[in-house]
Symmetry: C2
Subunit: 168 residues, 2 copies
DNA sequence: GAAAGTTTGTTGTTGACGACAACAATTGTC
DNA sequence: GACAATTGTTGTCGTCAACAACAAACTTTC
C-alpha cells in the first residue's frame, strides 16, 4: 500500500465555545505550542512515534516490532555474540533482552548456544528459519523506509541519517 | 539481501572479534549493525533516548519530565483549554492526560476550573505558582537545548527542527 | 589455591507511556 | 423526549527503561 497520508483537510466551520473565562481557542490545530516549537526533543518524539507506528504496521503481517528487528539484524550480522554484547550494542537492558530472546527463540528465529569458552554466556545465532525470515523482514523494513522518504522527502531523510549518524 | 553468510556452529566469524575470547569485554563499537545503519527509525530512536535522558537530568532538580513540560507549556500559552483540546494537540491519550493533570494539580501548578459553558469539560489554567515555575522550567529547558546543540552542532539542530517541523 | 570481587544471564519490581474499553454526566441532534 | 456524540474518568493490557537482587561462572588478589 502506498502510505499516502490522506490530506483530506475537512475544515470544519469555525464554531465557538464561548465564555470559558479566559480563552476561547479550541478548534483544530490553532492551538499554539509556544516554547515547544524550537525544542528538538519534542519534534523528535513526535516523529519517532510516527515512524514506529509505520514500522509496526508495515511489518504487521510478520508481527515484528522495531526492537525485535534490531536484535535479529545484529545477531544476523554478528553471529556468536553474547547477550551482553548485543544489549550493549543496541543500548538495551540485558534484563529486557532476556524476554526479547525468549520470544524470538520460541518463534524459532534465534538459538542460544552455551559458549564453551565462557560457560556463563550464550552465543546467539539465527536459525535457518530465522535467516530466511530476516531476509523477508528486511524487505518489509525497506518498504517502511520508503514510507519515511515519502513523508519527509528523500534528501531530508538522508540529511537526518547523516546528522544522527553518531547515535547509531 | 545478504542472505548468504555461512552460519556454522560456533565457528568464529572472520571479521568480528578474533580469538573468541568470550570473557574479554570486546568493544561494542566493533559490532556491525548491518541493515540497521540506514534505517531512520533506529537513529531517531537512539537520539530520542539520549535527548530525553538529558532533558530529565537537566530538569532533574525541579522533577519535571518532557511530557509534563509539554502540558504546562501548552496550557501556559493557551489558558482555558479543555483536557480534550490539550490531549489532541499534544497527541496524548485523554486517559493519560488525566493522571498527568492529577499530578500537576497536586503540585499546585495547574487548576481545573469547571467550565460553565460546557459542564462536562474543565478549563485548564496555570496557577500563579505554576507560571513562575514554568518560567524556571523554560530556562532549564533552554539549557538542555544548548546541550543538544553541543552534541550535534548548531546548524544540524536547526536543520533537524526544519525537517521535522511538520510533526509538531 | 582459596577468598574476594566482577561479569553473565535471569527474575522481579517500579514507573512512564501508548492503546483500548467501558462508564456517568452532559451536550447536541433529530 | 429519544437517541447519538462528547468529556472526563477509571481500568486493563502490553511495551519499554531503570533498578535491584540472585546463582553460576569467571577474574583478580593475596
Amino acid at each position: 500500500m502506498t502510505a499516502n497520508a490522506a490530506r483530506a483537510d475537512t475544515r470544519p466551520s469555525p464554531r465557538k465555545r464561548a465564555g470559558n473565562g479566559a480563552a476561547r481557542p479550541n478548534d483544530a490545530n490553532e492551538i499554539g505550542l509556544d516554547a515547544l516549537v524550537g525544542h528538538a526533543g519534542y519534534a523528535v518524539r513526535r516523529f519517532q512515534i510516527w515512524i514506529f507506528q509505520d514500522f509496526i504496521k508495515t511489518l504487521g503481517d510478520v508481527d515484528i516490532r522495531p526492537t525485535q528487528y534490531s536484535v535479529l539484524t545484529v545477531i544476523g550480522a554478528n553471529p556468536g555474540l553474547s547477550q551482553m554484547a548485543v544489549a550493549k550494542r543496541l543500548g538495551i537492558e540485558r534484563a529486557r533482552l532476556v524476554h526479547l530472546l525468549d520470544s524470538l527463540e520460541q518463534r524459532k528465529y534465534v538459538k542460544r548456544i552455551k559458549s564453551k569458552a565462557d560457560r556463563r554466556s550464550h552465543a546467539l545465532h539465527l536459525t535457518a528459519q530465522g535467516e530466511t525470515a530476516l531476509a523477508k523482514f528486511k524487505r518489509l523494513a525497506a518498504e517502511h523506509e520508503r514510507h519515511v522518504e515519502a513523508k519527509i522527502g528523500k534528501e531530508n531523510r538522508e540529511q537526518l541519517l547523516q546528522i544522527l549518524a553518531g547515535f547509531t
